[in-house]
Point group: C2
Chain length 461, copies 2
């Protein structure tokens, strides 16, 4: 067994020069969550080939050294943070485009390609990779798969799983495996590609994927409406479902979140009514004809419940509106300096209860609370505002989060709709799944990773 101190030089012998970082690797101690590595990793490796990924996993598995696979580090659950030292295996240099077939609506690409890069390649070829999980210039394809990333357009298009026809991965004890491929349908074997998707690096290291793409929509636009109460917001949401239209995204801000970003609402679209206590923001896409048709259906659906007029936005202002929507998270954090945000997801017919429940739970713990997110999927970003200097507030927020999870589960939902459990909620699956399901989960983990070296401290019950 290699000692942890000898690890760096052993790894250097396996990899091209310069691809093992041991000192200057502070960047790799964090992701976009508040989780911090309890100790620095022994080494950060940046394999430049499949052979190097295999060699590292094989070496680590032989020497009982933990591996933390890492994509762009934009995760919100600590999934890429090393919790037990060992090796951080960053896929950032594996960014080859293996096969781009615009005529067959398909791309095969390596894990380190950024989401934005995949989107650009699709766009430049008249196609579309609609997934928009956030941090597009930072997040990578491998990380998207490892977390089964979602985002606003998952409402119409599904999470990344819906686009994947094949996965290539290195699994313990260090072997390359190809599951699926370029064919759009394949039921020959068990869906082991699907098993790796969303497994947060705890079963293997995803190195490449085959993706279905779609024709680029001819038009894209937004509709928005403000509401004077949470009840009206919920009515508006249900009216969207009853409209007959299928928006690409059905987003919302509750009263608290809206109040924070109201001052920066795009001026050309008017201003947020002072009595607004919620907002729905719809994205529609498709042919120009269908966008116009859906605009009518959706404006009619939202109309009766909104304060004032339904807002319609197309052209350049849609970018401004997207940027504004994306600013919610950091603006909400800024109000008290820190926040604790959880991505619970509930059946859509329980959405109103979850939004009201978030505020109520915060109130009970003496914390301002708000939520926003993907209303159409019932996926809230339920947020408690805290001061970074107050240990007491953090403790109250932790207690509030526990109640939030219990509420999501009691409404028939889940503790994570899209961020994953990572280190943040490691162990929490027990709250949600029954004993038999938990036992299966454990068995699958120990079958694929018998030594428990793949991303330890993450996701497991």
């Amino acid at each position: 067994v290699a000692t942890r101190t000898a690890l760096g030089s052993d790894l250097e012998a396996l990899l091209t020069s310069g691809r093992v970082l041991t000192k200057e690797a502070v960047f790799y101690l964090r992701d976009a969550s508040r989780i911090e590595a309890p100790m620095p990793p022994d080494a950060v490796v940046l394999p430049g080939s499949l052979g190097e990924v295999e060699a590292v996993v094989r070496w680590a598995y032989r020497h009982d050294v933990p591996i933390t696979p890492r994509g762009g580090g934009s995760g919100l659950a600590g999934g890429a943070v090393p919790m037990d030292g060992g090796i951080v295996l960053s896929l950032e240099l594996l960014r080859g485009v293996r096969d781009l077939q615009p005529g067959a609506w398909r791309i095969a690409a390596e894990a380190g390609l950024t989401t934005a890069h995949v989107q650009r390649l699709a766009r430049e070829n008249g196609l579309c990779f609609p997934l928009n999980p956030g941090a597009a210039e930072q997040s990578q394809l491998g990380g998207n798969l490892a977390t089964n990333a979602g985002g606003p357009r998952a409402f119409k298009y599904g999470p990344v799983r819906a686009f994947v026809t094949g996965v290539e991965a290195v699994v313990p004890p260090g072997e390359l495996v190809t599951l699926g491929g370029a064919a759009r349908k394949d039921v020959a074997g068990y869906d082991l590609a699907g098993l790796l998707i969303g497994s947060e690096g705890t079963l293997g290291v995803i190195t490449a994927a085959w993706l279905r793409l779609l024709p680029a929509p001819g038009a894209r636009a937004f509709l928005a409406g403000f509401f004077s109460s949470g009840e009206d917001l919920t009515t508006g949401l249900l009216n969207v479902f009853a409209s007959g239209a299928t928006p690409a995204a059905v987003e919302y801000l509750d009263g608290g979140a809206l109040a924070v970003v109201a001052p920066t609402f795009p001026q050309s679209l008017g201003s947020v009514p002072t009595s607004a206590a919620g907002m729905i923001l719809l994205e529609v896409d498709g042919s120009m004809e269908s966008v116009i048709h859906e605009r009518e259906l959706l404006a009619e659906a939202l109309g009766p419940a909104v304060l004032g007029e339904v807002i319609w936005a197309d052209g350049p202002v849609t970018d401004e509106l997207s940027t504004w929507r994306d600013s919610v998270s950091s603006a909400v954090r800024a109000t008290r300096g820190e926040k604790m945000s959880e991505d619970i997801c509930v059946p859509v017919d329980r959405f109103g209860e979850a939004v009201a429940g978030t505020v109520e739970i915060g109130h009970r713990h003496g914390l301002a609370a708000c939520s926003w997110g993907h209303a159409g999927d019932g996926n809230l970003h339920s947020t408690f505002l805290i001061s970074p200097d107050s240990e007491a507030e953090r403790e109250r927020a932790d207690a509030a989060a526990e109640e939030l999870f219990a509420m999501a589960i009691s409404l028939g939902g889940t503790i994570s709709g899209e961020h994953g459990l990572g280190a943040m909620k490691n162990g929490y699956l027990r709250k949600q799944w029954g004993d038999t399901a938990i036992a299966l989960h454990r068995q699958v983990k120990s079958t694929l990773d018998p030594k428990g070296l793949m991303n330890p401290g993450k996701k497991l019950p």
Copy 2:
């Protein structure tokens, strides 16, 4: 250990009276494939409750008795045929609608509900369950999930996996497990629901599912075009991909298949040109506006390559056209009395090679061959015509099928796009997957079903 003869009375003690069939169960010896049970099952059970499913699986697991789960018996791979005696467990009495929420585009239903029943419930509520895998009045929801059924509209909507947000199943040694549920997104645990989907009853018995539904499209229509050669057919297909439209279904008939059903082509749409050597049939759906728009795009795309005019069909004639399309399989069988049909699936850019290769392989083995199916997904129903009385032809067809599989794999495709392996291709996964992937497949099987009692003789490498 119970002897097989004592099995009937033991089971009768577990189930409501009349739900154990031992003699009159010949119906359960076959499905829609040519596979025949080598021996009759010891008992056929029709559990009427979850508790009865659990009791049967628990009893069988305790006594080492194989279980063959069964849906509607419309499978084409022998998946529901008992290969080793034991118990056939039919889900036909479990057909409760647990939760229908039209306002949230959702249904939860039990495994025995027919596909047509689910479609009707959706339609009656202004919604749509677009999956159309064939045999809608016979096939059941559980079987659809167990095979990850596809069909024509999988092109736009994906196979059944794309609609499932939760699965309930009884897994060895007889415990009920719920994986996922009514929430539209959930990344808390591994995708064990996805693992059961497409596992063909070899990992557990699916008892219920939660499905996402969609708003009913306002319009639906067909476009069709005939081609004078396989090359033109392939050109037509690629032009559809380049059109910018997203048809619901992209179907085809090659020259051989078309010749068989040309005489019964719906008269109101004209007749099949005598020089036709292939056909593409597109289904478009959506709002009236978008259907009209896609009609223009697709007619323009097909136009240059077709013989004569592009055919447009809406209204009642679309039903006639669907029925005609669905008649291909039995009409082709009738030409020589029997056929051997395989559902290979290849990357779309290799479609033309697979269509030509099918005929060429048949020719080399002295067999007439043709294909039809889901061109947009690269999913062929490659078919060799044989006489039911000729053992020699059957042997040649078996040899031809081997070459067909090798071709599909060499083109980067799969030996089964939608039917599954069942008993028909049991063991064939080895041809397609690498050693490491095969080892994982085996490990997953033995983890979930350590005694190997779930649907033995099916799907495994």
